[in-house]
Symmetry: C3
């Protein structure tokens, strides 16, 4: 049975069994080349409308591990700016409409993977996932999100994998998503997505903590407790997921930079003391000594490198499921 | 017998039998991997001095289908600016002379594919095809144009293929090349090239229509009738090829934007009524509602996606002929 | 026995036997695909923090010849700016610390190849090779320099190869490294590196000539005679290696552009007359008629194309040694 409901992977809601998909990824980690024949003669197009490092490299590697040919295309740098609005009169700076570009990708590739960030200006467009949905609508082939306006599902699947492979006790771990300071307004994608996957996975006790006015869209946080007191939230945590995001309600703003929200070793002492404190996660890139201190990142509590390494296996599991369709 | 006269593909005049080359391309469309062994151990370098989407992707895919390794290099972004003038004293912004760069590409690759746009300032340099000819002169290996200063032969071969595969009647189709409005001065390449290929192919009745003062170089339009009245030109057309270009005589200018030259459904009624109106072609990217209206592009008359999909088979046929040399 | 002392290739001092490594490269030139199985299932990441043409292409080709998968990543263009200072508070323009990025490359690749230019501002950081050493320290996998702050070892190995394959007499050739004018301040890398390799190789009589105040770091020139009179230095030379560099002592400056230092045919008459004058080498790119005249570059004395072609075999020999570890 397929672990994906349909032909797209842009959200946790596209997955039939998150736990099984994570298990499949971990099986690839143990045997990377076991499905080297699966993608033979198939081709994935990786379109980047925005910069990327881990996502770009891990997706290329995952495709190669499955025997696929991967072609990377930096839409803005190597091509030109796309238009996404219906009925636009294109007398400005956009050179090609997604309605014309997408179906051609559909002719060239077997799978399309796309990174497209939010504007952080037009909340309605961003939260309707206008850009990636236009690609899905017009490309007519399987589409994988490499991070879209509101979600980053390959990152979140990676996070599930990393918790699954590191937590050895016979109980649900407590997982805390905490807001962290940053110097510029960032998307809510990683936080939204992590909240959505933790909730849908259901194998953890999940808590969110952030300053007031940094509420996320409840569509993604669901019934997770929202705690404004970080110290209280951190108590007895097994995993602390650190991430900055800009405001959702009054969209795309930084209200304050709150340096006291940066996680420190002192605060880690509030977390699960039996295991030497919680494991600390972050999607990277991380601004050292702004979002997270050197002392945390360089300590054994940090599992950010293991987490980033797992990006390959998350991508490989998803591409494999799409190839089998 | 080779379908190419020599070791270059930069113009219709390099082809011995356009119809046979188009047939070969359509055979690849039916069986993409039939010559997967032909390019084994061979390597194509794809050099982009200018942006590209379809040409870049379709050439990479064509090379992969033939078993070649393709290496893409964005000359300006990833390297530096090249000098093309003989005897230049290089104390300005150009970092390397084509006389030094080209022979090295000749050592690294088996085939060299190059995109290099016109300046639209120096007509003499542009129309002498200075840049691509310097590459041919100094590289010493087969050279394929991915669009040069005055021509876009892989696009035009694609256009031949697309007409050949869609026209089913036992007569010559009427093909009209019409000028369209645009917001900035564009090269004449696609129009020149389409005119040249239609004329050399000889299997169509070919007509050109544009506002006065937008004449193309007669070297390319040959004996094709030039009609200044678009309505008259469109009468009974089977194919309408829509494209903007800047002025050729008073070089690189926009005289007027003439919105009434944008093709509409109303105008399409003038074309072949027996078939529900002419098929509409465009090389893409297209500025919607400036060059061509949504109503045309979203109608069954538009075959622009099919056309763009055929880019792969045009490139594959040409690379195949060069590999066989 | 390995021809490399350890797991890195950033300097002549990393090589156990320069002559044997050059011989290995020339064996690959004769039979490029002889080790096509060696790199099967292995992956090289080529990271460019700065522009590159020959180095980029030749490394990709060398990897392909060894059966490896090569992934190229333009760190600045496709990703973001890295931080290299320890304990930096990253509230500025750098987005990710090398401490976080490098170990992830270590998880994704089997070999890491990196180009990272000097600042030409902070001499201490540049000459401590801060950037590439940070990668080596944190990546935990074999690292190859594609040119670092002070050295360009793949270029210098290429230069050894080129002298070795072109010099047929039973004596040591006289090799002169001469400074040449340029329009902007350039790194000392190529000159440092050439001096280091000539000295360590030990199979040539090596002389350096430059205007006063353009001294290189003696760490690299060792006991090589430094001659301020170019004519005297050129006398009886078999090879003249032409290169500009900015000042080392008063760091990163241009004191004067000294057009009389540009090598001319007249000056070449001072060199080995029995062989029609010295062979002229340059790493390219070269500013024609600034660094070197057309008359030299277009003469049979110039072997710059042969030299650049040999870049492939130098890279292939080094990658092969690292793969065998």
């Amino acid at each position: 049975m397929s672990l994906l409901k349909g032909n797209t992977f842009i959200s946790a809601l596209d997955v039939t069994d998150i736990n099984a998909l994570a298990a499949k990824a971990l099986a690839y980690k143990a045997n990377p080349l076991t499905d080297k024949k699966l993608g033979e003669g198939k081709r994935i197009g990786c379109l980047f409308l925005n910069p990327s490092m881990r996502t770009r490299l891990s997706t290329q590697i995952a495709a190669q591990n499955l025997g696929m040919e991967a072609i990377v295309f930096n839409v803005g740098n190597e091509g030109w700016q796309l238009e996404f609005e219906e009925e636009a009169i294109m007398s400005g700076t956009t050179v090609e409409h997604v309605k014309d570009a997408a179906p051609i990708f559909g002719k060239y590739f077997d799978i399309l993977a796309i990174r497209t960030f939010p504007s952080l200006v037009n909340k309605e467009d961003d939260y309707s996932e206008l850009y990636i949905n236009q690609f899905i609508k017009y490309a007519g082939l399987p589409v994988v999100s490499l991070e879209s306006a509101t979600l980053h599902p390959l990152q979140s699947l990676t996070d599930v994998i990393t918790i699954k492979e590191t937590f050895k006790e016979q109980r649900k771990p407590k997982v805390v998503l905490t807001w962290a300071p940053h110097v510029k307004p960032l998307p809510q994608c990683v936080a939204n997505s992590f909240a959505q996957w933790m909730t849908e996975w259901g194998e953890v006790d999940f808590v969110v903590t952030h300053p007031e006015d940094y509420e996320l869209d409840q569509k993604f946080t669901g019934n997770a407790p929202i705690v404004y007191d970080q110290d209280e939230a951190l108590k007895d945590a097994d995993y602390v997921y650190v991430k900055n995001w800009s405001t959702y309600n009054d969209y795309g703003k930084i209200y304050s930079n709150e340096p006291e929200w940066m996680l420190t070793q002192e605060k880690l002492k509030l977390t699960n003391p039996a295991n030497g404190g919680a494991k600390v996660m972050h999607c990277l890139p991380v601004r050292r000594n702004v979002e997270l201190s050197d002392e945390i990142l360089d300590s054994p509590n940090s599992i950010v490198t293991q987490e980033a390494g797992n990006r390959v296996w998350a991508a490989q599991a998803v591409l494999s499921e799409l190839l089998k369709k």
